[in-house]
């Protein structure tokens, strides 16, 4: 589908870090929805498959000035420089095993195509991609709870968050069956969004002004003035993206009223933040 297609969506997410409690529901809902395996020791977080991973951030101050915040990190579904669909991972995959959906903005992963070179993992600064170092194994009988909507991955391939793409397909199928042209906002919601007990995750179409995600993010359709590769910067001063300056153009936004949290979203040279922060999000073109 062409990116200029009127029916094209740009699915994205905004996560309210002030509401997030770090409870882990999103992680488990994701694992359960997407048949993510588990193994005896999952305490080495560098080989533990968590499509949705909740990071703990601290402000680095000592007792009792310490603050912490939790930051859930799904795949950021980057649009790549200029939002043209050349995500850091998609552009490097040699076997076209990960692809950018111009009609959804979703970065897909084709497990049967992937041959496990892991170049995409190196290219992703968010560690959103996971490799199946082991054969997935479930205790005897437990494989009965696996969902047929998502195929379990074999050893030796890369996997990652798909924004629960199968839910989009199901919603589209239903809309088609009902004779509707398009799906409603609430028909397609990711498993982490629906599970979050704090309601901290809002998911929807960043192209659709009626969707809550658009209302909160208010994405700027024009390239940022200081860095033309950055598109879709939020015009909400409390909203930021991770490593926005790299030009990866993630579709996952974060919201926080705390300045140190927003600052932690990207890298800044000494003194730079103070110049940028007031500027942040204010590059409105109306």
């Amino acid at each position: 589908m062409n990116k200029n297609d009127k029916k094209a969506h740009k699915f994205g997410m905004v996560i309210d870090l002030d509401k997030c409690t770090g409870c882990g529901s999103c992680m488990v809902s994701c694992m359960s929805e997407n048949n993510v395996p588990f193994k005896e020791d999952e305490s080495n977080k560098k080989d533990s498959i968590t499509w949705m991973r909740v990071y703990k951030l601290t402000n680095g101050k000592s007792f009792p000035e310490t603050e912490i915040v939790y930051l859930p990190r799904p795949c950021q579904h980057c649009g790549g420089k200029g939002d043209h669909g050349h995500s850091p991972c998609v552009s490097v995959c040699p076997a076209t095993a990960t692809d950018y959906g111009y009609d959804t903005g979703i970065v897909s992963q084709i497990y049967t195509r992937c041959f496990g070179c892991r170049y995409c993992m190196g290219a992703c600064p968010y560690h959103a991609r996971y490799f199946n170092w082991w054969d997935p194994k479930w205790p005897e009988g437990m494989e009965k709870y696996l969902s047929p909507d998502v195929s379990p991955r074999m050893r030796g391939v890369v996997e990652k968050c798909s924004f629960c793409y199968h839910r989009y397909q199901a919603a589209k199928d239903k809309a088609y069956y009902d004779g509707r042209e398009d799906i409603e906002e609430n028909e397609y919601q990711t498993a982490c969004t629906t599970a979050c007990p704090a309601g901290a995750i809002v998911f929807g179409d960043l192209y659709n002004p009626a969707h809550r995600v658009h209302e909160i993010v208010k994405p700027d359709p024009h390239p940022a003035s200081i860095n033309s590769t950055v598109v879709g910067k939020s015009r909400n001063p409390n909203v930021f993206r991770l490593l926005e300056r790299l030009g990866t153009n993630p579709k996952v936004y974060y919201l926080s009223e705390r300045e140190w949290v927003r600052k932690a979203g990207d890298n800044y040279l000494a003194g730079e933040w103070d110049k940028i922060k007031n500027h942040h999000g204010s590059e409105s073109h109306g």
Binding site: K81, A97, F115, G116, A123, P125, R155, L242, G247
Partner: protein
């Protein structure tokens, strides 16, 4: 007992001695093969790689052997295209080294990928925008070229050459070698460059990313250039080692000096470009992404500024200068020092462009990831080295690799080892 196979007029050690040497190195090969079997059977969990360190020791070894194997294409280019005729005396050996390096690289790739049986998808489902695709295509094709370049030398074996067809084939292949060499140079330019591109296009990784020309980041050109510059150093180094082991002089000094001189100029020009690239990256690219270069060099004891200094100054500027100056170039000790430093330098560069990239956190709340390879990784990385030693020993013993050998060793018989 194998005297019928040994080139006419060449002196070789006794077969049992040779066999013993092969057996010792062969044991190392078996160790590597065992590790390889484990990895294929049980999967990449046999390594210490992880989701932060998706690229590790093997990819470094891969990049390093391809870089040092660059001596083959560059020497071929000089010999067949630029008609530097003296190099005919070392070209066979350069080709064999290249063959070892590239076959090792392909083997490593076959171990490294999670689904070896699907490795061919890189060709079949090629994504032409990926640097790795370009690497795979050019690498495989160039390996074919190396094989083609190697065949005539094999066919010149005393027994093989008795078969008329083989004799004619070798002769004819020599005849059109320039075409193959040109193709090889073309392919090498792209796959060496693309290996550099692999790092340079990772715009999510500020340590790796570079600006560039059209679709090619500067690392593309730097890699090609450095392979051409340091590859001959490796050819010379292996020649030197072979000479030391066999106790014979195999290549005349004028040939060595010529190749060293060319290498020296290539290194010097390369290192100037590399310094400019580093300065631009450190002062423009990285600050533009909100990072100070201290970020990349000051977290832990291992990845410090020493690595940058060693790569560029000690193993770049110094060998370059040593090799372009006649006095130091023609001093055997200093020349040897220079080529050793050069080889270390290019290997270090490849290390930095693979492992350091993976180690450095990008998100402000992420942490450094350090990694120590598992024994299986070490064994499979040592495997190509052992295999290379065996192949060199066998080819040296049975093939007329060094055209000047007979002439240089005509006077009195020398004590030989394998």
């Amino acid at each position: 007992m194998d005297s019928a196979l040994i080139p006419e007029g060449a002196k070789r050690c006794a077969f049992p001695k040779f066999a013993l040497g092969i057996a010792i190195v062969g044991a190392v090969v078996l160790w590597g093969v065992y590790a390889m079997g484990l990895i294929w059977w049980k999967g990449l969990n046999q390594t210490n790689m992880n989701d932060n360190y998706g690229f590790a020791l093997w990819i470094w070894a891969d990049l390093a052997v391809i870089a040092v194997g660059g001596g083959a294409f560059f020497t071929g280019l000089l010999k067949y295209i630029f008609k530097v005729d003296e190099l005919k005396n070392i070209i066979n050996f350069a080709v064999i080294i290249g063959f070892i390096c590239y076959s090792s690289a392909l083997l490593i790739l076959a171990i490294d990928i999670g689904q070896p049986l699907r490795g061919w998808f890189i060709f079949w489902h090629a994504n032409v925008h990926s640097m790795l695709t370009e690497v795979a295509f050019c690498l495989s094709c160039y390996f074919a070229v190396l094989t083609i370049e190697f065949i005539p030398n094999i066919l010149e074996n005393r027994q093989a050459n008795k078969v008329p067809f083989f004799h004619h084939l070798a002769h004819n292949m020599h005849g059109v070698m320039a075409v193959f060499a040109a193709t090889g140079a073309f392919l090498s330019f792209f796959h060496q460059g693309s290996l550099g591109g692999v790092a340079g296009v990772m715009y999510g990784r500020p340590f790796a990313v570079r600006e560039g020309l059209l679709i090619w980041p500067w690392t593309f050109f730097l890699f090609t250039w450095s392979a051409a510059a340091f590859g001959p150093c490796f050819t010379l180094l292996v020649t030197k080692i072979t000479e030391a082991v066999t106790g014979k002089k195999l290549v005349k000094d004028n040939v060595v000096h010529l190749l060293a001189k060319i290498s020296g100029w290539m290194i010097t020009t390369y290192i100037i470009a590399k310094i400019i690239d580093t300065i631009y990256w450190a002062t423009v690219t990285v600050p533009g992404l909100g990072l100070d270069i201290d970020h990349f060099y000051s977290n832990n004891a291992f990845y410090g500024y020493w690595i940058l200094f060693t790569e560029i100054i000690i193993c770049g500027v110094i060998p370059g200068l040593l090799l372009i100056m006649k006095s130091t170039r023609e001093n055997p000790t200093l020349r040897l020092l220079a080529i050793i430093l050069g080889v270390i330098g290019v290997c270090l560069n490849r290390w930095v462009m693979v492992l350091q990239i993976m180690a450095i956190p990008v998100m402000s709340f992420d942490t450094w990831a350090l990694y120590i390879p598992s024994w299986q990784e070490v064994a499979t990385t040592v495997l190509p080295v052992a295999y290379g030693i065996i192949l060199i020993a066998v080819t040296y013993r049975y093939l007329p690799v060094f055209p000047q050998e007979k002439e240089l060793n005509a006077v009195q018989p020398v004590t030989e080892t394998e």
